[in-house]
Amino acid sequence: MTLNSKVPEGPLEDKWENHKFNMKLVNPANKRKYTIIMVGSGLAGGSAAASLAELGYNVKCFCYQDSPRRAHSIAAQGGINAAKNYQNDGDSVMRLFYDTVKGGDYRSREANVYRLAQVSVNIIDQCVAQGVPFAREYGGVLANRSFGGAQVSRTFYARGQTGQQLLIGAYQALERQIGLGKVQMYTRSEMLDLVVVDGKARGIVTRDMVTGKIESHAADAVVLGTGGYGNVFYLSTNAKGCNVTAIWRAHKRGALFANPCFTQIHPTCIPVAGDHQSKLTLMSESLRNDGRIWVPKKAGDSRAPGDIPEGDRDYYLERKYPSFGNLSPRDISSRAAKEVCDEGRGVGPGGLGVYLDFADAIKRLGESTIRERYGNLFEMYERITGENPYKMPMRIYPAVHYTMGGLWVDYNLMSNLEGLHVIGEANFSDHGANRLGASALMQGLADGYFVLPYTISNYIAETKPQTISTDHPAFKQVEQEVADRTSKLLAVNGTRTVDSFHKELGKIMWDYCGMARNDAGLRKALELIPPLREEFWRDVKVTGVNADLNQELEKAGRVADFLEFAELMCHDALMRTESCGGHFRTESQTDEGEALRDDENYTYVAAWEYTGVGNQPIMHKEELEFEYVHLAQRSYK
Amino acid sequence: MAGALSFYRSSIGKKAVMAATGVIGVGFVLGHMVGNLQVYLGAETLNAYAAFLKGTGELLWVIRFILLAAIVIHIVAAVQLTIENRKARPNRYAFNKTIQASLASRTLRWGGLVLLFFIVYHILHFTVGVAPGGPVPFEKENVYNNLVKGFQNVPVSIFYIAAMVALTMHIYHGAWSMFQSLGLNNARWSRLLRRVATGIAVALCVGNISIPIAVLVGFLKPV
């Protein structure tokens, strides 16, 4: 199989414009003859569903929550990037493009990233027009801040709820189309499989989560905007329902899975409190602007933080990265925290935490300024931990946050399966091996509002309206498979809960395929996962019946898929012996312990082909070419 | 007309009507109280005031009609709203609790019922002069005596005082509520409006209740 990225010819700046012009159009009167399935209602899915309906297509949109407004995009706090250069501080499309490629450690496709930077400006305009209440200056113009260590202020935000406000904008546009009858919304509906006929994605099979009914839906094109799979680690900052199911099922039907091992670990999360921990809570990165990160110099120092004198503290980020200090990029800060904890210098229960200390900032700026800046975050922290961060340093620890990997797509956001498009965090995104803060929202909305509506039209223009209905034997067969699997899960009736399997898998992944990976560990994980999967199918206990709402059954289906997917992740991590971005191989580091890329051998996207459960997957390479950006070792010293 | 009807049919429309009729009611009870407080200026002043009111002839009937209409509409809307609200929550909570709703707001409907009963009795008592326990003899021209003699009946006075407490509560919530319902509340005004409402309620309470008490303690005597 050769992977054709379909990147258009021409100079970087003109590729998208030319491509838009060259794409075929669908006659307005014909659009209503086509149906598009949109799985997901997050920033990517919601914005795309609304935009496609506005164009005149019939859209069927699915989400597993009770309302499209609850997609996990809602949790994003920090902001969204755009190359507006409203601050006149030297930003430009070119600079955003450059920063993104560099931030991703040179493992993304130049043309895609450039297009992302280009349309970023339209996103802000669109959102403002929809009424997204972005922060404003006194003069009434939009406010910006610098985020995630960027040198320019290009991040737009709405208090600490940027994701929620952007999602509500997309959701309102979507609800408008639902009201107009152009979008049919299926809430509490989980996509459990993809239907492929003659190499083309033709529809999906879903389970109505209230009645248990297995249903088929046919369409002219299928779009997946189902978000990230960080929950393979069990503990992550993702919502409880985030899953790999939709893209994993598509993968099993032939879609290639690209760079599955690229995961982002966020440095500022509230540490685990005990076995009951069900998810991790992200503390906004903005805290690093004023907080200083430290651990005791001595391992096992059990004094209270206030009793540790300055001389016995190690402000390790400031020490190692003097120019970026506490604002060093996410992957670097996370790894540094893990390192000091591995040395036994971690703080708090289990030694898995580092201090984020505001004492100096409070002394310098006064408690009221700090309260003004971070009051709500401090409150949230106190609510969760019972500790008062004005008096005592916060404790933070890295947590799985975002997955750069996903289904492989070409420049048109179409996977190798014709008609199957993938957008948002679900595709192997434009972020390479590491995503910059505030760029995921940008990518989700770019895909949904401004890229997919064009490229899918081009695809539709080349296909005849759907003739295959859900009566087609292919649908019947997939329906049967889905129903069988569901009954099988219910029939095991073993002794272990679904969660206990998920936790065990998560631990394996965190230990061996987490922040730092190596050959031996990954092989170990590959040894541990198959027996766990077998045990799952032998001994899992799923209570209840299919015909009612059954949350255990839902979880079981997702965990079953994670148990298969985890192996692919380890294979990918094992294959990539270089370190890059969020992927750190202990074997590949500089003398100072920094990530060391191997450009000669690994400047490619690894797109994996499914070969059966537990079998070695086949890798296909998409070589990455860098014409405009010069590859260099990232340095934040 | 169709517009007005659809407005009334909407939940907010009914509330606006409640509030508008409430404004009329509040205006009336305030004015009425000021009039009644003239009892402290002696029989002649009060009787002259009453005579003046009766002398306005047709205007009096217009006002009476407006008042009656307001009360009727207020009650009809109140009943409709109450029925709708009951329907909106058919199953109650096993553990029932409110966080901050004032006693006044929670007893609005009971208070309203007490007021309805009071108004009927009150008109029979002082305007028509046929209420049980009312002043004997009822002197059409001597409102002052009717009033003082009427309150010399202890149970009747107690009932009045109780009704005034109900009125106070109804207005304590209602007067603030009507600003809110008419859309006049906002962040800047909310404190002020709360105070205005409380002020009106307290004034009504003190002013009205003082009269039966003044009679009971013998400060006011028939002439």
């Binding site: 914005s47 929550q65 009770d66 309302s67 407004r69 609850r70 809602i74 339209n122 403002v128 027009a129 009424g131 972005f134 404003r136 009434g140 113009v141 939009l142 709820q161 994701g163 929620q164 609800e175 408008r176 639902i178 009201g179 209230v210 900052t237 919502a239 069900s278 998810k279 809570t281 992200l282 949230m380 609510r383 206990k541 209570t543 009612d548 | 909407s10 939940s11 907010i12 509330k15 606006a16 709708e84 609200n85 909106a88 929550r89 058919p90 199953n91 109650r92 909570y93 553990f95 409110t98 966080i99 901050q100 709703a101 707001s105 509520s177 600003f179 319902s181 008419l182 006049l184 906002n186």
Partner: protein, 256 residues
């Protein structure tokens, strides 16, 4: 600590439910309320019983999925906090805790503590948007918005659509939700062209869903995890009255 839970159990919309009591031993103060339920559920599954179903997703207090009335208060005793962010520190050993679903005729029970809040989506679908198609927008800074207005709109937009206001309101009224959604858009310059129409449609849909009316109890505001102010209810009232007054000047003004 050791708690006694009294939980509403109901298999589906067709059956009737009842309160069932459970023991929750070994509750740690570091657990969130939902994690406490996770542990109870784990025990139930192990015994082969069906776990207590409840809606949840983000567990960060932002998605608005979690929805349970805890000892008579939606989202429990802590102010400005969703059930998922409520921690067991708020309880003490031996406490009896009643856990019930949102109760409103417009929110039919789906199972146990899960209700159908589709009515809220339908209120938005009726008019809670600005009708602007993708691509048809001027530069973001072409529409200046005064900082105060932007902040006020943001206060309203902070609503997470959880429905606690309905659950808390003695009348099961959705006024706070509808008011917040309408105010967010009605305040902004971008929202002006559709202001009247939007208000009329949203209120009409709210009424059609069978929510109660507002008696200005302000319970909703007290229960709202995002502390949405009832001044927005006043604003909705104002906007509706205004819309009705202006209607005559704007053609039929039919509420569609």
């Amino acid at each position: 600590m050791h708690l006694k839970l009294h939980v509403w159990r109901q298999a589906n919309a067709k059956t009737t439910g009842k309160i069932v009591s459970y023991d929750a031993p070994h509750v740690s103060p570091d657990m969130s309320f939902l994690e406490m339920l996770d542990v109870v559920n784990d025990g139930l599954v192990q015994k082969g019983e069906e776990p207590i179903a409840f809606d949840h997703d983000c567990r960060e207090g932002i998605c608005g999925a979690c929805s349970m009335v805890i000892n008579g208060i939606p989202h429990g005793p802590q102010r400005a906090t969703t059930a998922c962010q409520l921690h067991m520190r708020s309880f003490k050993d031996g406490d009896e805790v009643y856990i019930e679903p949102w109760r409103a005729v417009a929110f039919p029970i789906v199972k146990d503590l899960i209700v159908d809040r589709g009515a809220l989506d339908r209120i938005v679908a009726a008019g809670g948007f600005i009708s602007v198609n993708t691509g048809a927008s001027p530069d973001g800074n072409a529409i200046p918005v005064s900082k105060n207005i932007a902040e006020l709109a943001m206060d309203a937009a902070a609503c997470i659509g959880c429905g606690a206001c309905v659950a808390a309101c003695p009348n099961a009224s959705a006024m706070l939700f509808t008011a917040a959604k309408a105010a967010h858009l009605n305040l902004l310059p971008q929202g002006q062209p559709e202001r009247e129409d939007r208000t009329l449609r949203m209120v009409a849909q709210m009424d059609a869903e069978g929510f109660g009316n507002c008696t200005n109890y302000a319970e909703c505001q007290a229960a709202c995890p995002k502390e949405i102010d009832i001044q927005f209810i006043a604003k909705l009232n104002r906007d509706l009255i205004r819309a009705n007054l202006k209607q005559g000047n704007q053609g039929t003004g039919e509420v569609k």
